[in-house]
Subunit: 287 residues, 2 copies
């Protein structure tokens, strides 16, 4: 695949900070064009790509296990597989999804993080009427907010008043502080200290959905978890099909999350910008 | 209530080690006799008692919240309420359950920990055919094993070969080491290091049910939790009704778990015995 546009994710910053010890090329959010493959019909297609590559040989895979959880999987720009911050990348055909014409590159490049946001729906049945606190107003937070706002009674906690104010004007219930407990909390701050704070605001028997991985150590109070019979659920990658549909239907706003784009040659500058507190999405222009 | 017999629980040892900073009389497993109360019909009844005393006044209680989770609750021998290692204790009538004649004191005294073991059924739907690993062959472990063995495909991990051998002879699948992953793991070791080990043997999207609280800090790997989309569920107190039924029907063996009993005056000796590795249940004879 010839990469056209790639997005910098907080996970890239964590990987760069030492998380997982990955040594290859970073980048797992991209839109590109198929340059060569075994199926001539797909050459030239504009595509996005699911990032997990299962081994298809182990007991997990042979038993029909979810490819996102193959213990020997490679993951684009994260684990044993060079990523999208490059002119070319390679993925199995089965991972690639053709992008509808109506979805521009600058929206399609959000397919991976939007799929990750939609993955919370696999982790918990967010039913109408459920009071949910979302922690984090970063880029993943803004995608999660849009996914959750349509389904349940969302309160969105962030620390950037100007950012939240824009969403408040569109009908989102936003806040800078927590003042009551919630039956469901979605943690997407990527901030190690925020987790312990969120746990305290979880109702007895409530569910905490964890979306972020961090290089720094985070602590859960496991006695509180037992005593209050809390539930903690991890959530990672989602499927691209529903994400592409949402982008096509424009039910989720993504392009306004873009702060800036940099040519691949200035990727380090892009990384510095992405690392600034409250930064919007930084894109790298490749093709 | 005039206490007749009380059991020493690992939680008592943890409380004595500083967990929760409780300063009152310990003891939350007991069987006794009603000495005085507002309902003359109950005086003289042989009873066991649920340990959580809700305030009945706060927003949680007034909204019909579970009394076990009232934020202002007192808990017998654990929180703001003197416990059962004494000649007398006091509980609201609503907490007391009359003990059937066929259940001797030395079985009835297990009602509280058996209810706690049965509480795992509120935390996870242990369906027939589910492969479950139970970690811990202490007293709570032995109750959990009996609850789970009847419902699902249980593997029971412990570190006392002689203890496990007795259960193996009755058809339990026991082991001293883990060599494959499980979709469900119940952690009841009370051993801080065991938790981290158990988490590694949890399948992707698997559920870890945590039963024990510890004064010492325990760590969960939260990146592993997110990446493998694991679920962690805390489980604490159960209801006494089902536990009394199981004791009456003798579907759970409890009396063989008793190692020794001590008069209340020798309680410290009893505590020392209860603290020894692999100790069976230690009882205190009060009345």
């Amino acid at each position: 695949v010839a990469v056209r546009l790639a997005g910098i994710c907080r996970t890239d910053l964590e990987l760069a900070a030492g998380y997982k010890g990955f040594q290859g090329l970073l980048g797992h959010e991209f839109v590109g064009e198929v340059l060569s493959c075994s199926d001539p019909a797909r050459v030239g297609q504009r595509v996005v790509g699911e990032i997990n590559v299962a081994c298809q040989r182990c007991a997990w895979c042979l038993a029909g296990g979810d490819d996102r959880h193959c213990p020997h999987r490679r993951a684009l720009g994260i684990r044993d597989l060079n990523g999208a911050f490059a002119e070319r990348l390679s993925l199995p055909l089965i991972n690639l999804h053709s992008v509808p014409n109506s979805v521009p590159d600058r929206a399609a490049v959000f397919c991976e993080p939007l799929a990750a946001a939609l993955a919370v729906l696999e982790a918990y049945p967010f039913e109408p009427g459920t009071e949910v606190l979302l922690c984090g107003d970063g880029n993943l937070g803004a995608l999660l907010a849009q996914v959750l706002h349509r389904r349940c009674r969302l309160t969105w906690l962030g620390r950037h008043p100007d950012k939240l104010e824009r969403w408040r004007q569109r009908g989102y219930r936003t806040t800078l502080t927590i003042d009551c407990q919630y039956p469901v909390i979605v943690e997407a701050t990527g901030n190690p200290a925020a987790l312990a704070e969120a746990q305290v605001w979880l109702e007895p028997r409530g569910t905490l959905v964890l979306k972020s991985t961090t290089a720094a150590e985070r602590l859960l109070d496991l006695n509180l978890l037992v005593v209050s019979e809390q539930r903690v659920v991890g959530s990672r990658c989602g499927r691209f099909g529903p994400a592409l549909k949402a982008l096509e239907a424009k039910t989720v706003e993504v392009q306004e999350l873009i702060l800036a784009s940099y040519p691949l040659d200035n990727a380090l500058e892009g990384f510095a910008a992405a690392g600034r507190r409250g930064a919007g999405k930084i894109l790298l222009e490749v093709g």
